[in-house]
Symmetry: C2
Subunit: 346 residues, 2 copies
């Protein structure tokens, strides 16, 4: 296509994820939450559903949400930037910190979006493999002087977390460190406490996982207000709509409901870890709402394919020959069905 | 801020538009539609408001919307790209066509976002002034070889349209021509018919104006499917949420309602043109849902300020000394109040 930047032309075409419409499908492939959002979310959307709210522009900075989230997380509202999903936030951060020809670093195997963001920006993308235990790297990190590092914590597909010293070391090596905490709501700790002592740290969060709101697209960043004052320049003026803002505000305010969902997800995660282990999978201990499962006795791709034929959708992932299955935590009924089918297949 | 790109650091801080919460305010400053969205929009949002829709990711390409809009506009669904407001589309187009150090051209006075998009991308921004009648340029256009041109049609703040030959000439001069048709729903003609013969043309549309949906953030682009296949790589995977998609689909399908709203807006626009003219304003004939008003006998900024004190919000705009008032078309009751206050002030 004439006029399109060469870095965009060189990118592979977009392949939408598997979205089968059959209501009978057990969907354990994209880490959506199997439980509904808080009842307060529905109430808040219904309340916001007025002619006046729909026809007028929404709050550009989401002040009502920032105040609510600030109270819940114990941070200042002006340290929060709202986003149209945390992907929007990751895009904004890339554009703020990385010039064309700049450098983005990230561990691998990890979230494939990071490479796409580098490609769109015309930046170099450098990776280093995780070590066997996912808690360190397998060699020296190529970070020094990089414009930006993406560090997912917990990581996908492994569900593992890097210890604080590794995070701090990396923050010292790069211009800006993005701690992608899309799954941190399921973990025992997170990076918010590090913010006051690490001025170049940006923590990002999502409402798609723990808050059961993948459909409404909402995420946010927490960082030093001096950083927020810069990254806000890069976002679209009205990047979050009035219904999503209402939903996210209600969701974050209902921490009791959130804790209830978290408890159920963690209980099922533990059950899956145990029972998948008994079926012969090597299951990595997870801090997220999914499990990374491998086998040394047989290839796992056929397992994925056989499950799909039986209307159970999980994720087969292959990173340069290192492959495995990423299985989202579902309801106990969904996991009953998964385990029953696996019993038959194996 | 350490690590932030110099082009971002150099940008002015974000200044949110005036959003007064007083329900008594007559808001004629941001070209929102004074009428409610179609009743079918409310119905569609209520129908989409289920736990399953909220907790799952939405359609990445908005296929249901693309089919509906394709039918209404008479274009192929795969020539449509969905966006989180048309600002999202303009951002995506900039990132697809303009490298750092590239060139964006645009007429002036016009939409100030175009300059911000160039600044964020680290590109040069070149403008040329409109001629007196807004239908040509006041000198040679600095376009040849530019990566991208933004051409708003109708233009803001003037509400005027460039004739087809001017559009075609410019398309021949630049790599990609974006015809920003945020206000085209209020005009007599638009650029969709040009698409088959101008392969580097991209038409963008908004639901914030004619469809009374500024609150839900939805816009789209129409272009050759070969262009759509490239720009889709640059958008966030799930850039539109499930409720906005439902709302936009219902709105575009209710063309009877849209025509009713358009008829009312155009009637009030004609009345405003006439009565503001009688009050001594030089009113530019408008193809949009606002009017550009100037005076040769006195400065207009005090008029804006006095109206604001009387709880009527319009827009005072100043482009390097060339200034005027941009007044959105409101309901007839709102315009009664505007005209009564203007009578007192003048």
């Amino acid at each position: 296509m004439n006029g399109v930047r060469p870095n965009i032309l060189a990118m592979k075409g977009y392949v939408p994820g598997e979205q089968l419409n059959d209501p009978d499908i057990v969907k354990l492939n994209t880490n959506e939450n199997p439980y509904p959002p808080s009842p307060r979310v529905f109430e808040a959307i219904r309340t916001a559903l007025t002619a006046d709210k729909l026809r007028k522009y929404p709050q550009p900075l989401g002040d009502t949400f920032r105040q609510a989230a600030g109270r819940v997380l114990g941070v200042e509202p002006d340290s929060i930037l709202i986003g149209n999903g945390s992907d929007d936030i990751l895009t904004i951060l890339t554009r703020t910190f990385v010039p064309e020809g700049g450098r983005i670093v990230s561990p691998t195997p990890s979230y494939i979006l990071y490479r796409s963001l580098a490609e769109i920006q015309g930046a170099r993308f450098e990776t280093i493999r995780f070590g066997e235990d996912w808690k360190r790297f397998s060699g020296p990190w190529p970070a020094p002087g990089a414009n930006l590092a993406f560090l997912p914590n917990p990581n996908s597909p492994s569900g593992t977390m890097l210890p604080v010293p590794v995070v701090l070391k990396l923050a010292g090596d790069v211009n800006a460190l993005v701690l992608d905490e899309a799954y941190a709501d399921f973990a025992d700790w997170n990076g918010l406490a590090l913010l006051p002592r690490v001025p170049n740290l940006i923590v990002t969060r999502s409402f798609s996982k723990a808050y059961s709101l993948a459909g409404i697209r909402f995420g946010f960043a927490v960082a030093d207000p001096a950083i927020v004052r810069e990254i806000v320049k890069v976002k679209d003026s009205y990047n979050c709509d009035v219904l999503s803002l209402a939903a996210a505000t209600a969701a974050v305010e209902d921490q009791d409901y959130f804790r209830g969902v978290k408890t159920k997800v963690l209980a099922t995660r533990e059950r899956m870890r145990r029972e998948l282990g008994e079926l012969g999978f090597e299951v990595t201990p997870s801090h997220a709402n999914f499990l990374w499962c491998r086998r040394s006795d047989r290839p796992v791709k056929p397992v994925y394919e056989e499950l799909k034929q039986r209307k159970i959708l999980i994720r087969y992932m292959n990173y340069d020959g290192y492959d495995g299955l990423r299985i989202s935590v579902g309801t106990d009924e969904e996991i009953d069905r998964l385990l029953a089918e696996l019993n038959t297949i194996l």
